[in-house]
Amino acid sequence: MTVQSSTRPEVAPGHRRGGSTPPTEPQRSKGVLGRLDIKYSPYLYIAPFFVVFGIFGLWPLIYTLRMSLYDWDLGSTVETAKFVGFDNFAMFLGDSDFWNSVVNTIAMFLMSTIPQLILALILANALNKRLRGRTLLRMGVLIPNITSVAAVSIVFTQLYNRDFGLINWVLGLFGVDAIDWTARSWSSWVAISSMVDWRWTGYNALIFLAAMQSIPRDIYESASIDGASGWRQFWTMTVPMLRPTIIFVTIISTIGGLQLYGEPLLFTGGGNPLLGGSDRQSQTVTMFLMEQFYMKFELGRAATVAWLLFILIMIFSIINFLFTRSLRSADGKVKQKKGASR
């Protein structure tokens, strides 16, 4: 924010420079100090981010990698922990509980992200139309996102309650027996995915909406004259032009989705929620990580899981990137990219 506000006045001299009158450079510079200022102060402005990232992001990342190579118990120090190389990694790669948590995470990620992005696109398209009370509606879709994870999870957990839940009651009207949603994998996945969708669909819709608004109206007008239907316009014009935004949203959703924690934890409930249920039905990788730390006191192994999760997210982001890149694209690529970066 501060960087933006300080650079904004720069735009004016920039325009002047492009004009016929040459800028009066000697007058502007104030000697060596002034030149140093112009040359280096931008680095100083961005430095706080990198300093903070270095302390709270990069350093823990490296330290975690180091810990993952040790048999590091609660109470161990660098001196007392035993170096075990990649034993921890090998152990988890052969651990069915770890893979179970990976499968759960990926299943919930797919079950939540795919419908979520499609819904968000459709929602954004609807909000992009001329509607009465447009601003109110646009702000409204963000409300689920600003409610806390805990509140959403608790309310949804009650909706999915076996004996007194609204969902079982509605299903009961159609003659379906009460479902114990936490008892099986598929049912807990459905319940948790629906919580994620509730929170994030509106948020993604707003990002799509912002990108849609940068698509020039005249393209749609000429398409209408050519006789293209609204649906056709949406799929052959809007979606391809949103490609960079779709890539962005997909990657962000991947990073968030694969770190799913709060919803499944609160949905599981009970005395040992970190296990994700009686048969680890809804244990995600992050919950598996926390199990190593809080239940087993194995700090080294927890660090290992953290790195495995990091690698998993990297793999998924690359797959996403390759996949979304191959989406159909309209002509005028440069223009879209400018549009999407707003």
Partner: protein
Amino acid sequence: MSTNMRRRSFAAIALAAAVTLGAAACSSEEPGTGTTEQITLNVDVFGNFGYEELYKQYMAEHPNVKIVERGTGSQLDAHNQQLTQRLAAGAGAGDIVALEEGVIISYLDKANLFTDLGEYGAKDLAGNFIPWKFQQGTTADGKILGLGTDVGSMAMCYRTDLFKKAGLPTDRAAVSALWPTWDDYIKTGQTFKSKVKDAGFIDAVTNTYNTILMQKAGQGAGYTYFDKSGAMTIDTNPAVKDSYDLAVKILDAGLSAKLQAWTQEWNNGFKQAQFATIACPAWMTGYITEQNGADGKGKWDIAAAPGGGGNWGGSFLAVPKQSKHAKEAAELVKFLTNPAGQTASFKSKGNLPSSPQALADPAVKAAVNEYFSNAPTGDIFAKGALDLKPVYLGAKNAPVRTAVENALRTVEQGTKKSADAWTAAVTDGKKAAQ
């Protein structure tokens, strides 16, 4: 010009901020280490230990000590997670921390994180505690990790309204006479279920299973999943398999309301009268009172647990190694856990003492609970606690117990057959012990 000015001042501010941050990081205050000067002892607890009056008394007797209790009323899970983090970080934990029964066991093989209270004279205090309670806080090589505060003991709470509906007796002596053994308890449950269809006889099977296991282990080998050498005995100790089979028998008889403990559904179960009996340590009476609220008053009563005494829950006070005032903290622990301290805690918050002297105190022994149809709680629970034989629990008891509990829950939920679930319990239990 003005841009330049602004830029410079930004640079200056950024620089100033960086310098201040660095300075702040270096200038954290070192607390005093002298023994005669003023010191502060932080006591980290969960829930309510009822120590307020004791603190006042102690501070009056020791003018140089200031006691600050932290975490009063907090949840056990949150307390444990915070403690784990602080122990891992090597700083931030209180000078005294409360360790719940299941928690202290998991720290037994990490005794280096705590001060051995034996060094401060705790060894001579064994007589102040029920033997099994004192043993739970002691490591295999004799280090005293923590001194006991309260115990849970064990009884069976039951709903007189549902018992009446099923045509069963409601008087506590008559109800106790219905179930001298767990098989009698199951038979009573079947009678109950034949009359009342819309409520379970028990809330869920896991807590009942744990109660049975502790009883059977006490009557048998004196250990559960690990013998005293630390070897895994989940598939060799008959007490474990017998208790598992008995729990499955309860499930096969269709007695469970299948409400997982500590969930919202379970809490609702109290209010909606979804089950007739629940394994009931002393502190559970407080939980029932809170969950069932005013309209449950007089609808509950307390009978003896089938199969003899037992215990579930209760806590210890320990001094983390990272404390800078280990000696003073140890003195305070001894003060808070002595018989008089335990009686005071019972009077304040109803925590059942773990000291035989306190349990014999008229203030404890004669106590009745109005909510539970004036049941003589002091007498009922004291008997249960004193009857119990010591049971050795290994350091990895908690994860193994969870594995068996979860196996039983899959049987309860109908997702696994009991034989398959037992195989899973043994496999997962062994894995959890690694």
